[in-house]
Symmetry: C2
DNA sequence: ACAATCTGTCACTTGGCAGTGACTACGATA
DNA sequence: TATCGTAGTCACTGCCAAGTGACAGATTGT
């Protein structure tokens, strides 16, 4: 018989959930798979978390899924604030690329919520919305009046989400190689150029 | 007993495949579901197409999944060619939005190939790559030397793919309402602005 | 009319999944 | 040391999917 320690077992299950998600993807996430991974009986998922959904929720609150504001600005706030708007935005999106590429599970979720926005992804999504609001609250960027800032940043963020998530399974997109650093360098530089030209 | 017409049955199956994809999504695509939809026995999928993969391949070659060059330029080629590069590109991406939103199955595939790039989506993907190459071949756009044109158009196309596919299940992204025409208008106008500012 | 062939149907095996009820073994406490 | 609550195990049901082998009804050529 196993270790007989509820909290440790719960932790094992949460960890296993993350491993299954990263290795097999959201599609294969299930009580059987997670329990197998944790070498624990699936009934404990129901007992301790009320089911898979509860486990995912616990996982969502546990882990480091989404980058925080600090990671996105990646420098002391004062320095960041002193930069011109175009540069601020370019930095954020470039840092967002790195932040996402560092988080395979987050990419999995990004992809999955597009394919099948279900209850499970909702918990994970809510955390992100908070980040978005937090960001806007602290840094209401400015730019030329004729630019719809919200639409512009939606376009850029969508781009980054798509390309990072896609890079898990596809080597290229639109002729760009998104499997190697080279391609990402080009994309990052183009983001800078675009921000500069649009927001000046 | 049914109509006893092989070709008609094959057509029924192909059509059913599309219906299942549109209604239930790629996740629920399976021989059982398609056969049920076609009110035909699933064994015929194996006999006529060698399995689900073959059926999907047939479907991919059959339907109007991806817009053609004509749909993307949406005007006589001569007129299109006479426009400045910025305007050409803006038109293509704006038309791409409409073209994709008109094709629920295509959106389903776009989303699905991100979540799980499997054998089934590959066939559908190949057709698209052809379109991309065709487009570049016929319209090698020009712009300022400091702009990486391939990267820029990858960014824009990624954006469009993400937002259109996401709009199936999510009402908003990044504060933008992508469930109503209003939001799309704003995005389209922003695309025009961006192209103009970047490519001049 | 008969045989060969083709289209379509049915029934079955196998296997994975979610969820549940009954059980066992541990160990804290009195 | 006896007992009682809890952590963990096991075995089972019910469901649905993929794939297959055998069969029945229709069609065609001779």
């Amino acid at each position: 018989m196993a270790s007989r320690d509820k909290e440790a077992t719960k932790a094992k299950l949460i960890k296993a959930a993350g491993q299954v998600m990263a290795r097999d993807g959201f599609a294969k996430m299930g009580v059987n798979a997670v329990a197998r991974e944790a070498t624990v009986d699936k009934v404990l998922i129901y007992r301790y978390f009320g089911g898979l959904e509860g486990l995912i929720k616990a996982y969502a609150e546990d882990g480091d899924f989404w980058p925080g504001v600090e990671e996105l600005i990646a420098e002391p706030e004062a320095i960041y604030r002193a930069r011109p708007a175009a540069e601020q935005m370019a930095r954020v999106f470039r840092n967002l690329i790195s932040a996402l590429r560092r988080r395979p599970v987050t990419l999995e979720i990004l992809a999955w919520e597009m394919a099948d926005g279900n209850e499970l992804t909702k918990h994970l999504d809510e955390v992100r919305e908070t980040l978005g609001r937090e960001f806007t609250r602290r840094f209401g960027h400015a730019g030329p009046a004729e630019v719809d800032l919200m639409a512009f940043s939606a376009l850029m963020a969508a781009s980054v989400n798509y390309l990072t998530a896609r890079s898990r399974h596809n080597k290229s997109f639109n002729g760009m190689d998104i499997s190697k650093e080279d391609g990402w360098k080009r994309l990052e530089e183009t983001i800078s150029t675009v921000c500069l030209k649009v927001l000046s």
